[in-house]
């Protein structure tokens, strides 16, 4: 009897994952978008020269946790054709040490270009595009560099389960993949 109940519960949970209602699907769509918005705020903090070093380090840790292992971030510049790709931690370390007196980074138009679609392994995969406005300032000369970059971020969303305080929690783990540069303009 216990085995039957257990099997039923497992099947029920599996069904809960397989057949997402529009409301639940919308919830995970929003969750993934929210993670990208969180990343945009982390990038802004890490790049900000006024951010205390300890805070920047803490935020880098949180930002790195958003990504899948070995993910890369593309970096472009108006002065060169090619795009350099860095592992996420290296990207954030470089971002913190940019040679400007003041840096502002804003992400906007954060939206899906490819909806989350379920893969055979149960993971939902989609692509979110963002526009990044970068401005670098010099103490004496003021604004010395700015560009706008369109970037595509692959997102992976998978339902997982964990025990917390005796409760079985079903949560959606959102992981970001590579950030690819699509175009850079002034």
């Amino acid at each position: 009897m216990i085995i039957l109940v257990s099997l039923f519960a497992t099947a029920y949970r599996a069904a809960a994952q397989d057949d997402l209602s529009p409301q639940r699907k919308q919830a995970i769509d929003s969750l993934a978008l929210e993670k990208v918005r969180d990343l945009s705020k982390y990038i802004s903090i890490i790049g900000d020269k006024k951010t205390p070093w300890s805070d920047a380090q803490r935020v880098i840790e949180r930002a790195v946790e958003l990504f899948m292992e070995n993910s890369e971030v593309g970096v472009s510049s108006l002065g060169r054709q090619d795009v350099n790709y860095y592992k996420v931690r290296e990207y954030f370390d470089r971002l913190m040490q940019l040679n400007y007196d003041k840096v502002t980074i804003d992400w906007y138009k954060i939206q899906y270009v490819s909806d989350l679609v379920k893969q055979p392994d149960g993971t939902y995969v989609g692509v979110i595009t963002v526009y990044q406005r970068f401005q670098g300032y010099d103490k004496e000369k003021g604004l010395v560099y700015e560009d706008t970059t369109k970037k595509d971020i692959t997102v992976y969303v998978k339902r997982k389960e964990t025990q917390i305080g005796g409760r079985l929690i079903g949560f959606w783990d959102v992981m970001l993949g590579d950030i690819r540069v699509k175009e850079t303009s002034k």
Binding site: R24, I28, D38, Y42, I45, K50, R62, I164, G165, W172
Partner: protein, 270 residues
């Protein structure tokens, strides 16, 4: 006249004195019967009466309090009626009283447990009740007159809390304290006042059992299916509010431990 005097002289005074003495002795014996020793009839009546009094105590059908029952059994024992059936009934009644006492002790312990939990709830005031509402619930607990030191101390704490609430003190309900802190931290992050954000984080962490208390964020609830964001901890969540400069979740549930500290926090997307 001389005839009367002659009759008096011829009266047998010694016989008269003897009769009087006997009469007094008989009267004396009667009076002893009413105050000390009982007649068989009276003893039998008292035994029957005692049995009648003990029967509902033994069967548990009496409506008398424990103290009254104890008094009755004690009085019957004091009479020392020395009847085998009655003696057996006294033993049964005493056993019944012991059971009753144990049940009452257990019931009291349960009442104290319930009152303790209710008082902790009032202290935390998770449901954001007003001072009047808290006082009403406190009054119901006080009326139980539990005479327990811990309960009395908790009652005093709740009374102080109510007084603080009425005087506009900072002793806000936990839910309100958390909501205020979340807003303060997010706004401080927005305005770049990191000192205020960090101070508020340190202050609010004191409400929690530890910095690693789990925080769950509900992103969707559809019938029995609840979807959560990836679990985090309270310290991380508070820093997250500072970093993202926004508080986008409502409090869904607060779990506390025996010390009244928060051991789990469930949030829900606004």
């Amino acid at each position: 006249m001389s005839e009367i005097a002659s009759k008096i002289r011829s009266f047998h005074w010694q016989r008269m004195m003897f009769i009087l003495l006997m009469a007094l002795m008989v009267a004396g014996t009667d009076s002893c019967k009413s105050t000390g020793k009982m007649s068989k009839k009276e003893r039998k009546a008292q035994i029957e009466n005692a049995k009648r009094q003990l029967q509902p105590i033994i069967s548990g059908t009496t409506t008398l309090s424990y103290d009254e029952q104890k008094r009755i059994v004690g009085e019957i024992m004091d009479k020392n009626l020395n009847d085998p059936v009655l003696n057996e009934m006294i033993i049964q009644a005493q056993q019944k009283l012991k059971t009753l006492q144990a049940e009452q002790a257990q019931a009291r312990a349960q009442k104290i447990d319930v009152a303790r939990a209710a008082l902790y709830d009032l202290l935390l005031n998770k449901d954001n009740k007003t001072a009047d509402e808290l006082e009403k619930e406190l009054g119901a607990i006080k009326r139980q007159n539990l005479k327990d030191t811990e309960i009395d101390e908790l009652i005093a704490k709740v009374e102080k809390k109510i007084a603080d609430m009425r005087s506009g003190g900072a002793n806000l309900p936990v839910r309100a304290q958390l909501e205020n802190a979340f807003t303060t931290i997010a706004n401080a992050g927005k305005t770049g006042n990191l000192t205020l954000a960090d101070n508020t984080i340190q202050k609010i962490l004191q409400l929690f059992a530890s910095d690693d208390v789990p925080v769950l964020i509900i992103i969707s609830r559809e019938g029995s299916i609840v979807d959560y964001d990836k679990p985090t901890t309270i310290r991380r969540y508070l820093n997250f509010l500072k970093d993202t400069k926004a508080s986008k979740n409502d409090i869904d549930a607060i779990m506390t431990d025996a010390n009244g500290k928060i051991k789990g926090l469930d949030l829900i997307k606004k």
